[in-house]
Symmetry: C2
Subunit: 154 residues, 2 copies
DNA sequence: ATAAAAAAAGAGATTCTTGTCTTAAACTCG
DNA sequence: CGAGTTTAAGACAAGAATCTCTTTTTTTAT
């Protein structure tokens, strides 16, 4: 569904939303380590996101990437548009050129509600709101967060 | 989610299940035209499926591809295994190496039920049963089937 | 000013997917 | 048997996705 590039980008945005601020910019190196992604490749993606005003950056010592308050009003959906485009979401699961409620492919009515849910998760919430939800429901976005079954009795 | 190759393969299998028999073998050329797929590429895929005993074939005049009764006892899932492998179904939607019910990514609980449904649609039915369902519920597998809104008042 | 740090940019390399082309093998029918 | 038809197989080609490397530009701190 999503390319690796887009997955990296989404995780970066969420990582920056949670961990960065105007006073705490984060370099590619750190981000790539935290998310366990190839560093130079991630750099390219962050450049792309910066061009599209989805993340902010400054060069030089103490520079790095961060999200300002304007960036935080965007949605994950904007990241997907920037990196992958939306075609993968529009296309039929079995590749039929014309597949809709009236002429459904064999899995259309399984795929369609799923797409709606994913779409509203990505499109109808700002990054800010998304992060609140992530925190409230204790979601994971990098591997370092894993509790590794430490609290077995919770 | 699925590669083009796999989509073509699934649609071919369903096409053969509906239209072919031991007495009515169908050549690559026809199948490729019906499904609107690149012909030599589809030939490769059908060879692969034949090697894996998911479709049957005979060479020479009046030869072609078809499903015998044994082929019809397989599942779509076997086609996916043959062409794509199952990794795309196992992997996290956001690419996290470790994402499960206990350490869920932000969309885990949206994706997970969808995967279960798609999986049971593909894995828990034989091709034969699948085709019955397709026919009963009037599903589309090639472009030629489209009713193009002729029966607006139904 | 100068040096160091960091992103920006662009070229290039690798791998995977997709697709094509050619030749061989097998089968059928006259 | 022999010609034609069709799959089988393998090499090859084009494109996209992924990933790397090098150079440039900007900024900060000394």
């Amino acid at each position: 569904m999503l390319s690796n590039a887009c997955k990296y980008a989404i995780r970066s945005i969420l990582y920056l939303a949670i961990n960065s601020s105007e006073d705490n910019k984060i370099g590619v190196k750190i981000i790539a380590e935290e998310l366990e992604t190839p560093q130079p490749f991630l750099a390219k993606l962050l450049q792309q996101l910066t061009r599209d005003k989805l993340v902010s950056s400054t060069k030089g010592p103490n520079g790095g990437f961060y999200l300002d308050s304007k960036n935080r009003k965007n949605a994950i959906w904007d990241v997907i548009i920037s990196i992958d485009g939306t075609s993968k979401f529009d296309n039929c699961f079995l590749g039929l050129a014309k597949c809709d409620d009236r002429n459904p492919c064999p899995v259309h009515f399984i795929v369609s509600p799923f797409k709606d849910k994913i779409l509203s998760s990505f499109r109808d919430k700002t990054i800010d709101e998304y992060v609140v939800e992530i925190k409230n429901t204790n979601r994971v976005i990098s591997l370092k967060d894993l509790d590794l079954f430490e609290n077995e009795d919770s």
